[in-house]
Amino acid sequence: MDRNFSPPGKHRIKNHYVSPFLAFLTGFSLLFLFGWIGFPELLYEKQPQPIAFNHKLHTKLADRGCESCHAFRSDGSFTGVPGIENCAPCHSTVENGRSDEVRLIQDFIEKREDIPWLVYARQPDSVFFSHAAHVKSGDLVCETCHGNIGESTTPLIYEKNILTGYSRQIWGQNMVLAAGTSFFAEVRSISAREMKMDDCVDCHETHELSGGSVQTNKQGCFICHK
């Protein structure tokens, strides 16, 4: 109370300083917290998918599971995210006038434009990833890397790293743990959820896919790079 009435001069006269320790603590906690909490908020930009796609629904209807839309081409390459031509056959006309469906038909199917999906597992341009090697020869199932995306009813919010442009997380963090439960894998799965080359390397090493490079005793870079 009386503080308010006390003349401002008073304080200046008995000017007691902040103790160095307190200052240190303030500085520390401020930036420590900013680094752990504030910074990620700034780094990642939340983006909704162009259309609230329901994987669960589609996988139920589709006869060949994931491969119905995410298929191999005859030359062994992988189509990845399907083009609009995969949607057109079923979605010729508006059935339940849900805004998404209307948008799908008006903005994309009728204009014959591909839907600009935000791909969680998008790879850098310098990466050559062979689905054939992993799925056909390696006998991996989609879930190993892409997690339970197939059972999702609404797409996960896409958190875009504004510096790198990549998704904050590969669906369900499986990417990291797929590498087998090495200590570092565990740590990474908690901390950095963005996919890194180490994730590939770990997995390849646990499957003893090493050799090639004399420098690194790992596989040659061109196994996965272009």
Binding site: S130, H207, Q215
Partner: protein, 287 residues
């Protein structure tokens, strides 16, 4: 595929060593290999490309001359991609051994020297180490004129400014072939399934590409590499550039002309005298 078969597949892969033989008597210096390489590997082009020292080329065609006066003059064209050296002891390639960040690497399962643009940080030590000048640096950002970016090949990653690039033996075509093989559950990759763009484009059929370790491949017979000695050619008239340095290139050349073969390596003065003497016997075919 079970683990054992995968191991087997890898074992069998380990034995591969891709190499190239260029017949200098057939090469006509037309330049198709250079253009084919540019369009296959998204090599940038500038408005003025006459300064060859800053120009990016994965394969260059040199014009050799016997330095004799008219009309005894003879010339020979020599195309030069990256030599994909095996190095003194396997993997100790001149460039690979010096790269501080393993941006370039020798893969003993294919014998191909890789270059990763997203790893390279542009110190250019590898360029200094390479006696063949096979490496180019991206001095500026590549610019494709309006519309021309459409012709970029998605199998090859365009480079950013400030990194080193070089011939990859069109490795992406090997990846493509392997993709198909995986898809079809095969392991073997046929000779014709993996051929470089320059090989394919050569109208004179001067380039032969294949697996030096595979007796079934044409190049193996044409070169007869001595695999104990870094693949030194046993076949007559076949030679490699700068054999004496021990870089052990995977690119071989052949010519029936002695003076051309002499151009392939450095010789001491006295040696030169002997060789030129030997070379002169070919001059009589000149009118």
């Amino acid at each position: 595929m079970s683990k054992q078969t995968m191991m087997k597949k890898r074992e069998q892969e380990k034995r591969r060593k891709f190499g190239m033989l260029i017949d200098l008597d057939r090469c006509t210096g037309c330049g198709s290999c250079m253009v084919a390489c540019m369009s296959e590997n998204n090599i940038p082009f500038r408005k003025d490309e006459t300064d060859k020292l800053t120009s990016i080329n994965w394969i260059r065609v040199f014009k050799l001359s016997n330095h004799k006066p008219f009309p005894e003059t003879e010339i020979c064209f020599l195309p030069m991609p990256c030599m994909h050296c095996q190095g003194k002891e396997t993997g100790h390639t001149p460039c690979v051994s010096v790269c501080p960040v393993t941006a370039t690497d020798y893969d003993s399962s294919t014998g191909i020297v890789s270059q990763i643009y997203s790893r390279c940080f542009g110190c250019r030590y590898c360029m200094v180490a390479c006696p063949y000048h096979s490496r180019s640096f991206n001095w500026s950002d590549a610019v494709w004129p309006e519309g021309m970016e459409k012709m970029l090949n998605p199998q090859v990653s365009p480079r950013m400014r400030g990194v080193v690039e070089k011939c990859s033996f069109c490795y992406h075509r090997y990846q493509e072939a392997r993709d198909k093989a995986h898809f079809e559950g095969r392991r073997n990759i046929a000779e014709e399934a993996y051929q470089t763009a320059c090989t394919e484009s050569c109208p004179a059929g001067a380039i032969t590409f294949g697996d030096l370790n595979n007796p079934g491949h044409r190049i193996h017979q044409m070169v007869q590499p001595d695999l104990e000695n870094g693949g030194r050619p046993k076949q007559k008239n076949v030679f490699r550039l700068l054999e004496r340095l021990g870089t052990n290139p995977a690119v071989y050349y052949s010519s029936t002309r002695t003076w051309v073969r002499n151009m392939g390596d450095n010789r001491l003065l006295q040696e030169n005298r002997q060789h030129t003497a030997a070379g002169s016997n070919l001059q009589d075919r000149r009118a």
